[in-house]
Structures are given as C-alpha cells and as structure tokens.
C-alpha cells in the first residue's frame, strides 16, 4: 500500500494508537531499545549510546586466539540474481522467497555482483536483518541461511551505500536511494507500505539507517545539489510525518539566518543529515551530525558567516522536533567535511566529577568533547598532525578556517583530503579503558579552483581535487579528557582507509578490519594484536551477539557475511 497521500497531508503530530510494548516473542519493543548493548543488536550502533561497546565476555583476551569461523554467507543483490540470496557454505538458501517492490523500473543490481554491505546489521531473536541499496534480507543468525530477500525497483539516483535497517515491533524500516521509507514485515519480508521522504527531482538520495525512538522513526537524507538538509520523524505504524527539523534556515525569522547571506543561500545551504545519531533517554535528545554547507567549495554565495547549522553536532528533542543546542565543528566549511560521524554518548568523570558527555572525531581532523545536556564545549584535540586548514582554535574551541586553504587557481595543498582524517565508519568507546577509538588517516590533496564565475558553482562543483599522498593510516585511541592521542596503531602500508568501523567488548577486545583485508582483534589498552583472520576487505563495523550460549562476532567483507565463534 502506498500512503504518499498521508505524508503529503500529515503535518500534525500524530499520537500513536499503541506501543508494541508487549508484542510477541519476535517483536522488538521500544523499551528493549533503551537497554545497553547485551545479547542482541537491535539498532544501528547496537544501543542508543553510539559506544559500540558490548558487555559480552565469553570471547575475551584469554581465548580469542581460538576464535573460529562458524559460517559464511555470500549475499547477492538484485532480483535476477537472488535465487534465495546465495546459500553460503551451509547452502540451503534455495527456496527463500524474493519479494519485489518499488516505484521505479530498474533493478540496480541487474547483472549481479557482490552486495555492497556498509550497513550495521540488526540481530534480534536469532535473526539478522541487513540491507544494501535497494535490497534487504533476513538471515538466520545461527547458520547464515537467507530467510527472505526484498528487492526495491529504483528510479535511480546515488547508490552509494546504505547504513542499515531500523526495527520496531515486527516491522523493519529501510531507506531507498530514490527517497522512500519502506516498511517490511520482519517475519516474511512482505511490504506493508512505503512513503516518500524526500523529493527525487531535487536530487536527494537516502542512505541513513532509520533510528527508532519510542514511537518515532527518525530518518535523514543526503543531497549533492544545493538542497536543504532535514531530519524528520515519522509514525512507525503509518509512516505519517510527525515533525521535520531543517538544518538550515528556510525563511525570514528563522534562527541562524544572520549567518548566511540571505534566505535563498540558507535554504539552498545543504547541511544534510545522512548518518544515524545517538539518543539520550534522560533528556529525550537525539544528537546527530549535519553535513557540509552548500555550495560546498565555492561558498562565496553563502556569505562570510558560519552557516548554521551545517557541519555541527545538533541536539533535537524527539518529542517536539525542536533543537535544544548545537555545536559547530566546522564553521563555514569549505571542503565538504561533513560532521556526519555518529557521536558517542559517554557517562564518565570529567575534571573529577561524573558528567554526561558527547564525543566525536570529525572528518576535518579535530576531536571534540562536549557536555551533551547543554552543548557546552569542553575539549578540542587534533588527531591528524598533517591537518593544515585551520589557523587555530577560537574561544569556543572551534577550528578557525584559513581562507587561503580553501582552494587556489594554482592549487592549495590541504590536509585532510576530501575523504577526511576520518569519515562515517563508526567509532567506539570502551568504559574499561576510557578511550575513544576511531580509524584515521594523514593525507593531502591539491585543491584547484576551476570556476572563476564570481557566483561560484553549485553543489560540489567549481574545483578539482587531485590526491597527493597518504602518509599514514591508523587505528587511533583518543583520551576524551584531553583530546590527545593515547596510542595509535600505524598500518604498515600507508594506503587510505583502515577498516570501516570498530567494536569494543567487555572481554577487553577491540575488533576492526585492516587495510590488508584482515579482521583483527586488538587489546584496547595498547593496540597489541591478539588474533586475525583474512576474509577480504571488511566493509562494515564488526558486531557481536549471543545466541544459544555462544557469542558470535559478525562482520561483512566483499559481499559476504562472516560469523566467528568459540566451540
């Protein structure tokens, strides 16, 4: 059923008819989602804190050397290639139903190929739920067998990746690249409804993992034209709009407008919300990062101001859709360094007192510790020593951009490159060590101004970036109290990108992929290597779950899932 009509008309806050609080054994209740990460993995970061720290200890420093493969399963995207989604080693995939939906006509995966698994994978009651652009699967968490496969026929658009599914009761939620939110029955893969969440003609594309909080589904979108970014809350039963929060001023009188040259610039100012945030149940604040201002590079049309609320940490009340506070990590960004990194909520001592903190390592090379109740700035650190685009820090701890490093007709040598000193791959925080872990890189690009029209270009246009070198790639541990690097593991080859996210556990382990295609277990205290297995380029962040008395470590590499366990 299509309920496009509903979203068009529903701007009212809708009170849900019921919570699925006591749904059946298969259902995931809103209350379940409030618990710290335990046996299941029911939301993007495992739990709302963004820490990606599991309390499971069955796999630990003393026995991780015995960790072994439980199963692997190759995932094949697209309807024509499905055949049950590939059987993996255990086989038995044949016969799993393929369900087709979509508003478009194209099977983006026609012709086959490995599934591009960037997603965080949900694990609830022994079933894994994962997605790639236009595809969703349910997979048996015990043996990797596909239970169903859903394929969305697309209208097109940017198929860059998909960060994962959201779940509420028996319902799954998936964003599609052509800007729909699709609700599936987790038990069958059958579609319940889909609603349009952004306008495809405006070149929006959608990749975010929906985050379910109470009776809200929080969804965001991306855009590479100059269209405004927004976060919206939808009703989980119907998909009807509850509220919409724009990350840029849209009209006269909107707060932050004074930081733009005017309404037209602000309302074409980007700030897209494309990475899942974290949620604090005590304050009802959903805290997420916003994307770069637009036009990204030739930003003169934006004015000289800081362009609120782009490239910022923003705290939005989930009940009202109103912003409680913001902290801009890149004021007036000119390099497309989105602040789209999942922020991590930490309850820990700061200056001798327990404090509710928020920590984030930004693509621009700077690390921040904030008070997550008030947004007060506490610490700034620089985690890539090649970073050269800022003159220094202002009184509020924000990097102050050096305009000469925006670009130059003759080229400006800038660190980091557009990919950043880090990017979307999820970081982790271990309360055992008090350290924040993040994949980082020291790299340089030349930025050439190619558009001399004083009006500048649109979107990401107007300059050409030519890579120069990566001097080092690292697994980096940062002390949230000082913002300084506690230790770094330098990968022997200085190629970009050391893994796509991090997991820490109470077993005193840290799991991450490396550049050589290994899944590696480290000691989170010092980076010492404890175990590894070469499975191919790891494409998502490792996760863990407990099933039938066994702890599993789950990760995706080169279109396949790999689950490790102890016997």
């Amino acid at each position: 059923m299509t309920v496009k009509t509903l979203i068009a008309s529903a701007s009212l806050y809708l009170i849900p008819a019921m919570f699925p609080g006591n749904a059946g054994a298969q259902g995931l209740s809103s209350a379940d989602l409030l618990k710290p990460l335990a046996n299941d993995w029911p939301t993007y970061s495992g739990d709302y804190s963004g820490k990606r720290y599991s309390h499971l200890t069955q796999v630990n420093q003393t026995n991780v050397k015995n960790l072994t493969l439980a199963w692997t399963a190759r995932m094949t995207a697209g309807a024509g290639n499905a055949g049950g989604g590939g059987g993996g080693r255990g086989g038995g995939g044949g016969g799993a139903p393929t369900i087709i939906g979509g508003e478009g006509t194209a099977d983006a995966s026609a012709g086959g190929g490995n599934a591009n698994i960037r997603a965080s994978i949900l694990e609830v009651d022994g079933i894994l739920y994962l997605d790639t652009p236009d595809n969703a699967w349910a997979v048996d968490a015990r043996d990797g067998r596909t239970l169903w496969h859903y394929v969305w026929k697309t209208k097109g658009g940017t198929h860059i990746g998909n960060r994962g599914l959201g779940m509420w009761g028996n319902w799954l939620y998936m964003e599609t690249p052509d800007d729909y939110l699709v609700c599936l029955d987790a038990r069958t893969g059958k579609e319940r409804w889909h609603v349009e969440i952004a306008n495809f003609s405006q070149q929006y594309f959608s990749t975010m993992a929906p985050i379910v909080v109470g009776n809200h589904i929080l969804v965001g979108t991306g855009d590479d034209l100059d269209e405004p970014g927004y976060l919206q809350s939808l009703d989980p039963e119907t998909g009807a709009l509850q509220w919409k929060w724009y990350s840029v001023p849209m009209k006269k009188g909107d707060p932050g407008l004074e930081t733009w040259s005017g309404v037209d610039a602000a309302s074409h100012g980007g700030g897209n919300v494309w990475i899942p945030g974290s949620y604090d149940p005590e304050t009802h604040l959903y805290i997420t990062g916003t994307g770069n201002p637009s036009p990204a590079y030739t930003g003169q049309s934006r004015g000289e101001g800081v362009n609120l609320y782009t490239c910022a940490m923003v705290a939005v009340n989930v009940d009202t859709g109103k912003m409680a506070w913001y902290y801009q990590t890149s004021p007036h960004d000119t390099h497309d360094w989105d602040s789209a990194q999942t922020p991590v909520m930490v309850d820990a001592d700061f200056n001798g007192k327990p404090r509710k903190l928020l920590v984030t390592a930004s693509r621009n090379g700077y690390f921040f510790t904030l008070d997550r109740v008030t947004g007060e700035h506490l610490v700034t650190g620089k985690f890539s020593d090649t970073v050269n685009w800022a003159k220094g820090l202002n009184a509020n701890g924000q990097p102050v951009r050096e305009p000469a490093k925006d670009y130059d007709i003759g080229g400006a040598l800038v660190s980091p490159n557009n990919g950043g000193a880090t990017n979307w791959p999820p970081p982790s925080f271990s309360p055992d060590t008090g350290l924040f872990y993040v994949p980082t890189s020291d790299n340089y690009s030349m930025y050439y101004l190619t558009e001399t029209d004083p009006r500048g270009a649109m979107g990401l246009g107007g300059k050409e970036e030519v890579g120069v070198a990566t001097l080092g790639s690292y697994l980096t541990a940062i002390d949230y109290k000082t913002g300084t690097v506690a230790w770094q593991h330098k990968y022997p080859a200085a190629t970009g990108g050391g893994g796509n996210g991090i997991l820490t556990t109470a077993g005193r382990l840290l799991f991450a992929g490396d550049h050589g295609g290994n899944l590696v277990a480290y000691d989170p205290a010092n980076g010492k290597i404890l175990w590894h297995s070469r499975i191919g380029q790891v494409s998502n962040a490792p996760e863990t779950y407990m099933l039938d008395g066994h702890q599993y470590i789950l990760v995706a590499a080169e279109g396949s899932l790999f689950a490790f366990t102890l016997y």
């Binding site: 658009g157 306008n199 980007g270 637009s294 990919g419 009006r455 030519v466 050589g516």
Partner: protein, 302 residues
Amino acid sequence: MGPSRNTAAAVIAAFGMAALATAQQQQQIQTPPANAGAAAAQAGGRGRGGGRPEAYPQHPPGDPAAIERGKATFGVQCSFCHGSDARGGEGGPNLIRAESVLRDRDGETIAPVVQNGRVDRGMPKFDLNTAQISDIAAFIHSFRVAGYDASRDRPPTIVVGDAKAGEAYFRTTCSRCHSATGDLKGLATKISDPRSLQQAWLMPGGGGRGGRGGGGGGALTVPPVTVTVTMLSGQKIEGRMERIDDFLVTVMDADGLSRTIRRDGDTPKVEIHDPLEPHKQLLRTYTDKEIHNLTAYLVTLK
C-alpha cells in the same frame, strides 16, 4: 552533504567527467534514469571507493523552437535579476537549483510564481501567458542540473608563481637530490601540462600511492619501494615490496620471484625503504606560494 564524499573514486570520477564535458555535452540529456541506475550500480565498487554520482532525472530535450522563444522572453523579462544563464543575477536567485524549477515539467509549477510574483521576496508578478511560461520553462530546463557542476569559466592556467623565486627554492631544497640539467632535464617536455607537472613533482608516481586520482606523473620513472627482511637466522631477504600488512610481507627478488614471509610482531625484522619519503616529509613544510613558484620554474625546463 551526501555520503558520496566518502568515496574518493567517486569524486574523482565525477570531476574527471566534468572536466571533459563540453558545454554542448552538458546540455545533452542523460541516460534515462531507469537504465542509469543499473549501470551506475554496477560501476560502483567496494569499500570507500564504491559508488559514484548517478543519473538524476534530467528533462528530455525540448523543442528547439520553444527553447529559442523561451530564451528570448527570458532575456527580456527575467535575465536582469536571474542572470542570462538563470544561475542568479542582480538580486534574483539561481533558478537551476530552485525547488519550483526542479519539480517543474512544462511550466506548471513555474507559472504560479511568475504570474503571482513573490512580493515578500521582491519578485513582482509578470503578465505572461501559459504558452510563454512554457517556453521559458523549456529554456531553463535546457541546462543540465548537477551538483557535480562542471566549471564554465575556467582559469587559463594554473601557473601563478614566480619562476625566479622557484629557481631559488629549487637550489636550496630540490638540488639535494635533483639537477635541472641532469635527471630533470626536459621535464616540462616530458610532462607538458603544468598541473600534471605540479602533481608529478609533489608526488612522483601520482596520487595512486594512497592519494586519489591520477597525478600525471606517469612520464616519470619512480624507483619502487623496497624492503629488507632479516630472518632469525640472520639471512636477509631484499627486494621490491609487493604488499605488507601486520601479518605478512611479500618481497619480489631480483629474479622476479615473489616470496611471502609470515610476520609475528617484530619478528622477523622488516625495514621499508621508500624512495619518496623525502617528498612525503616535504609536504609538511611547503607553503602554497613555494609550490606555485617551484612549478613556475619547472615548467621552464623544456
């Protein structure tokens, strides 16, 4: 904005394409979105390099006569405020990225704005009929809409530095390893494009070494990274480094044979010799002015 900027390859592919596109090509319609999605998804790779910006719906080519009429009407009525190319002018916004234009097909969403005006934003109403507005729409829709916006007014050259100052910098820094009459003789003949030359001297061998995009240094011969592995027995294995991670190192010896050696922490001892290390360390020291000056000098080494 979107996640696409995670993807080095995506960005470079886009800019590469943009650079090649001529004004005419920009106006051509794209592949119909139905096919484009599929083609692009296949092109999308793995890891960070995966995906690339793909086709969004562009308007089908309009009737040339309607576009001509629309251009004329736009020129008379609209271009003062919105610019002759509809990308913004004296006070009027860029129409190419405006929601009412992006959603429009044949003037139906543009017409109410034109006929009613947006008085609160300083736009008067215009007494134009539906047919005239349809023509104006055809003209505006003849421009390609893309966030990876091709440059239109390109600077004539990237050489902006002072060759004399560049020569002085060369004498103090580069001449430790290089000579303008020796190894670098004829450099600017080998690499005639100044930007490629600049990228090549910054990092010979190009951005492929961990950077992204071609640096244009292909005309230069860059000695390979070599490695010396000292086994517990004292035996030394030396040669070109094929690959390395924390667990293995693969060495190709002088005979072209590859050997992979297990690594266990610091055993065996592995020493990497990167001939480009001085170039890498210099990246931390250059000012952009020094870079521009040095390039201005090196382009004279014909």
